[in-house]
């Protein structure tokens, strides 16, 4: 029984999310108790115990306030904007994904909520306004100070940790959406016949199948 292999870890790649040292300790009361995923159609086969747990996650209140969600949405779209290949993070409903996933992965709650407040306070100190109320130029100026871990100033380290986590969640939410999966060019998850690496790709890397492989392996007639 060995399905672990490395594939899961390979997909994840290297981990780098830091821990926010100065997270907001006093969390404001949750105002909105609208179910976070009332409209989610859960198409997965589940055992009875799982169904109960899923109902709880789906009916949990929203962790982020509307104001926080507005900030998350702006940041997500800065991280993954619309470009000439695909749409933006909000086009792919990444903010909604983040709103859902923190109910389940509660370890992200404090770093994100605290990070959002840290960001607003920095913006108020610098520009006199919360992040969402800043001009686009000010927002980008702020983001530039927390988006590059190696060159960021030490006093911005907590903001870097926050932004790194948000970038990871945004990327994972985006590339696991229909829009993002098409963008990154994953072409599988459909019935097909594996006939080996395409000839032009073999040629590109100077590789070829051995006579033994061609003789022993499954061959399908090329259409």
């Amino acid at each position: 029984m060995d399905r672990r292999k490395s594939l899961k870890t390979i997909a994840i790649g290297t981990f780098g999310a830091g821990v926010l040292a100065e997270a907001c300790k006093t969390e404001p009361k949750k105002a909105d108790t609208t179910p976070v995923a009332a409209n989610t159609t859960d198409a997965i086969n589940r055992m009875p115990e799982e169904k109960l747990a899923q109902e709880k996650f789906d009916s949990a209140g929203k962790f982020f306030t509307d104001a926080e969600m507005a900030t998350i949405t702006v940041l997500c779209d800065i991280i993954i904007p619309k470009d000439d290949v695909s749409g933006s993070a909000s086009d792919a409903k990444v903010p909604e994904f983040i709103q859902y996933i923190v109910n389940e992965m509660t370890e992200h709650q404090t770093p994100l909520k605290g990070g959002l407040r840290w960001l607003d306070l920095k913006c108020i100190n610098l520009y006199g306004k919360a992040f969402v109320d800043c001009t686009q130029a000010q927002q980008i100026e702020m983001v530039d100070q927390i988006a590059y871990p190696k060159k960021a100033k030490p006093e911005m380290a907590q903001g870097v940790a926050f932004f790194t986590l948000l970038r990871d969640l945004t990327a994972t939410g985006f590339y696991t959406s229909e829009i993002g999966t098409a963008d990154v060019g994953y072409m599988g998850n459909k019935p097909n016949q594996w006939n080996g690496v395409p000839d032009d790709v073999l040629k590109q890397y100077g590789l070829s199948y051995s006579e033994k492989e061609l003789k022993e392996c499954v061959n399908y007639d090329k259409a």
Partner: protein, 579 residues
């Protein structure tokens, strides 16, 4: 209202089988097809991959995008119910020892999601004590089990190639799929440094085998279980066909409590609790066949104490629970710069690797006694939760389309980076043989019961230097292969003596074996060479519990072969009225 009562099932069966995975499914299949009346007890619910598989779901069909939960540690689409922890069913540890115990609860057990790696043990694997003086020899040899390997190859299907290797025997193979691009890189690199890479051997149908099962359509999702039965699961290929004979009564959600015995010490049946109504039941059989998993079967035996069997059933030798061992495991991964910005195409292939490395060295020249094989992964996988995590560790390190960028970032430039690195990762995992030791064991915790009131297992297992030194060798080998292919190590490269060179905790590789081992001497083994209890002739154990040692080969194919062998023996003995 009356207190708790025990309900006796009126029907008496030829066999009561506990567990519906590889061992139990095979026993049910053989007995039912021989006309025997079988009661098959399964602790979880019904599961038919044709209806219940999450195959071909998109990431966005899952609210958590395929991330794992406690119910599905291998991700939301995985084909196994439960895993390391089950609500209300604890297990404990002696001191600071570790054992990670995977438990599946569903028809077919963990075969619904396994890696389909189907390796025969070789002649040496049955006689290790004679070779290196450690552990024990099996009471049988390769020649005893070969006919059964041949039968299950034909009956269930496995692809591979006959390579004429001494200890990795040839089989009756279907054609394997061609290597993927990263697998060609691996093969070239490893071969250059003297490490063989050959087609993998997986029980996946690349050719049609019968009218009940479809052919593989290359979605890479065997782990979700297969709707067309294109791979081997005990549910699809054994239990469901066995039920179609009309000779099997399947009882789902039936948690076995105890093996019942009579005054003569013979097994009479099983007592179980139904999770559906929480009532207590008893079912009788001429024979009782345990296949609940190595540790669950040991637990059942240890919990089945009687006057005739004061140390637990089949345990006058005191070996039940001992010799518990798992495969060793250590892993490493990297990124291949030559594969940056790859051309896109569908390279899903079968569910798992197309090539692997069988053990290739001579342990007499090494500082550890047993071998390992290497499994490989990589390429364009379906993006699921966790995908593209930690880009700041990549995009400042390598030039992207000729440009040196700052690590991290955002925007259109970042989107370009994610595309650039997709499909360039590669990983490798060693799976090796440890030594089965008497002091590596599970016992009944004297103080703890599960929610059904059944005393739970307490584990007491530790790696020895043999396994740790083997892990060190794995890591050195992986680094050499990655270096040889021009890859850069991205994870698993920092392990040292302090963390046993990244050797996974015992149990983690999910190849539990050895707890009800077979042998010729009733003083040092629980079962004879027919998987039959020395102390109780109508009791059998056909799961991983019966293993004396488990080679560096994943154990499922050998569980199937041993269970088929034992089951045919049971049929013969019943026909002769010896049981």
């Amino acid at each position: 209202m009356p207190g708790l009562q025990v309900k006796k099932q009126p029907k008496k069966y030829d066999a009561v089988i506990v567990g519906s995975g590889a061992g139990g499914g095979m026993a049910a299949y053989v007995l039912a097809n021989a006309g025997m009346k079988v009661c098959l007890l399964e602790a979880g619910p019904m599961f038919d991959p044709a209806k219940d598989s999450n195959q071909l779901k998109n990431a966005w069909d899952s609210p958590r995008r395929g991330a794992s939960t406690k119910f599905r540690p291998f991700g939301d689409f995985d084909g196994c119910y439960w895993g390391w922890e089950i609500d209300g069913e604890p297990y404990t540890h002696e001191g600071d020892t570790k054992w990670e115990w995977w438990r599946a609860r569903m028809l077919g057990g963990r075969t619904n999601h396994w890696g389909r790696i189907s390796l025969r043990f070789g002649p040496k694997d049955f006689k290790r004590r004679s070779i290196d003086g450690l552990g024990d020899d099996w009471p049988i040899g390769y020649e005893d089990i070969k006919p059964y390997y041949d039968k299950i190859d034909r009956m269930l299907g496995v692809f591979g190639t006959n390579e004429g290797l001494e200890n990795d025997p040839d089989g009756i193979f279907q054609k394997p799929p061609k290597p993927r691009l990263h697998e060609l890189f691996i093969k070239k690199a490893a071969t250059n440094i003297g490490i063989p890479v050959i087609p993998s051997r997986l029980s996946i149908l690349t050719e049609k085998i019968n009218d009940q099962r479809g052919q593989c359509f290359y979605c890479a999702q065997c782990g979700r279980s297969c709707k067309v039965y294109g791979d081997f699961s005990a549910s699809s290929c054994l239990c469901i066909p066995a039920m179609k004979t009309g000779n099997v009564d399947l009882v789902t959600n039936a948690m076995a409590r105890e093996v019942l015995t009579n005054k003569e010490g013979l097994a009479t049946g099983i007592s179980y609790i139904s999770k559906d109504d929480m009532q207590e039941y008893q079912v009788e059989g001429r024979t009782v066949i345990l296949a609940a998993s190595a540790c669950e079967s040991a637990r059942l035996l240890l919990n089945s104490k009687s006057q005739r069997h004061p140390n637990g059933l089949a345990n006058s030798s005191d070996v039940v629970g001992r010799y518990l061992h798992d495969s060793t495991g250590a892993d490493m991964g990297g990124i291949i710069p030559e594969l940056f910005d790859r051309k896109r195409y569908n390279e899903d292939g079968v569910g798992g690797m197309h090539v692997y490395t069988p053990w290739w060295l001579d342990n007499k020249k090494l500082d550890f006694p047993r071998g390992y094989h290497i499994e490989y992964g990589g390429g364009f996988g379906q993006p699921l939760y966790g995908f593209n995590w930690g880009i700041e560790n990549l995009n400042g390190t390598y030039k992207i389309k000729g440009k040196q960028k700052e690590a991290g970032g955002y925007g259109a430039s970042l989107k370009e980076d994610y595309r650039y690195f997709f499909g360039a990762h590669v990983g490798m995992a060693g799976r090796g043989e440890g030594i089965a030791r008497a002091d590596s064991r599970c016992t009944i915790d004297p103080n703890v019961v599960d929610k059904f009131g059944i005393p739970v297992l307490r584990f007491d297992t530790k790696w020895s230097d043999y396994e740790i030194l083997q892990a060190k060798h794995m890591k050195e080998t992986f680094a050499e292969i990655l270096h040889s292919m021009g890859a850069v190590i991205t994870w698993g490269g920092d392990d040292t003596k302090e963390n046993n060179y990244g050797l996974h905790a015992p149990g983690n590789i999910i190849h539990e074996a050895g707890t009800v081992r077979m042998g010729n001497d009733p003083k040092t083994s629980a079962l004879n060479s027919w998987s039959q209890a020395h102390d109780c002739k109508n009791l059998f154990c056909v799961d991983g519990g019966q293993f004396v040692s488990q080679a560096d080969k994943n154990i499922t194919w050998t569980i199937l072969a041993l269970s088929m062998r034992a089951s045919e023996h049971i049929v013969d003995e019943m026909k002769k009225n010896n049981l």
